[in-house]
């Protein structure tokens, strides 16, 4: 597994091709998340992303381990950006490879669902109206709970 936290941008297509070139890969599923221009009717100027170094990497590693124990997957890469991000910028990329597609599909969704609630990142939105720390979304908590119910 590869886990990278960085300020710089990255290419999701490069992440996909890197996994597809490895042995035993029949499928690569990817998720990429971007900064939206609008949030609750407020036009975003930019966003600041903060994280807890050390715990972030540990949390992401633990999420990938959980996914590996549930599905037969080959490789996983997570890249998450921190620092100042502008509208339309890429924030996060998750790629999962497997022999057959369904395992990679499920594992990729599982990883991003848990990343949303368990990996210590915080977003602050800066708009013309001022600054606001983003509140957690109930939908994210419900999505994570659904996986727990499947156990």
């Amino acid at each position: 597994m590869t886990i990278i936290i960085q300020e710089d941008s990255f290419s999701i297509s490069k992440m996909i091709s890197e996994l597809s070139e490895k042995d035993n890969v029949g499928a690569v599923v990817s998720f990429s998340g971007y900064v939206r221009e609008f949030s609750k009717e407020r036009q975003l100027k930019y966003m600041e992303l903060e994280h807890y170094p050390g715990m972030t990497e540990k949390a992401l590693e633990s999420i990938i381990q959980k996914a590996k124990s549930r599905w037969d997957i080959e490789e996983t890469t997570i890249i998450h950006r921190v620092g100042k991000l502008s509208p339309k910028d890429i924030i996060v990329g998750v790629t999962v490879s497997s022999k057959h597609r369904s395992n990679a599909f499920m594992a990729c969704e599982f990883i991003i669902d848990f990343l949303k609630t368990d990996a210590p990142f915080w977003k602050k939105e800066i708009s013309i109206k001022g600054e606001v720390w983003v509140a957690e979304r109930q939908e994210d908590i419900i999505k994570k709970t659904k996986w727990n119910k499947l156990d």
Partner: protein, 100 residues
């Protein structure tokens, strides 16, 4: 005389904790990391907040009263306010996570 003073200082610092704040708490308290020397041993993050509220007050009063709105990690593992903490532990307090 000096020995008495040193003993007093030593007794005053019963427990050391590494405290981290993130996001809005970092802004409210004005720091992200501090080594805290407590004059009283505490066994949980909740008790730690209680001691800080009683001894320092200010922002700690709000944090103690609103602790249910925040999360706590002990040595980089998500924990509960009633979990056990030990000498030298790293305690992080932060709002709910909003990454991805």
């Amino acid at each position: 005389m000096r020995w008495v003073l040193m003993k007093k200082l030593w007794l005053a610092k019963i427990m050391n904790l590494k405290l981290l704040f993130f996001a809005n708490l970092r802004e409210q308290f004005g720091f992200s990391y501090k080594e805290i020397n407590l004059s009283k041993k505490v066994s949980s993050p909740e008790e730690f907040l209680l001691v800080m509220r009683n001894q320092i007050g200010g922002e700690w009063v709000n944090l103690f009263e609103n602790k249910k709105l925040y999360k706590v990690a002990i040595n980089q593992n998500l924990s509960s306010w009633k979990d056990h903490i030990l000498e030298g532990d790293e305690l992080a307090i932060f709002p709910p996570i909003t990454g991805g």
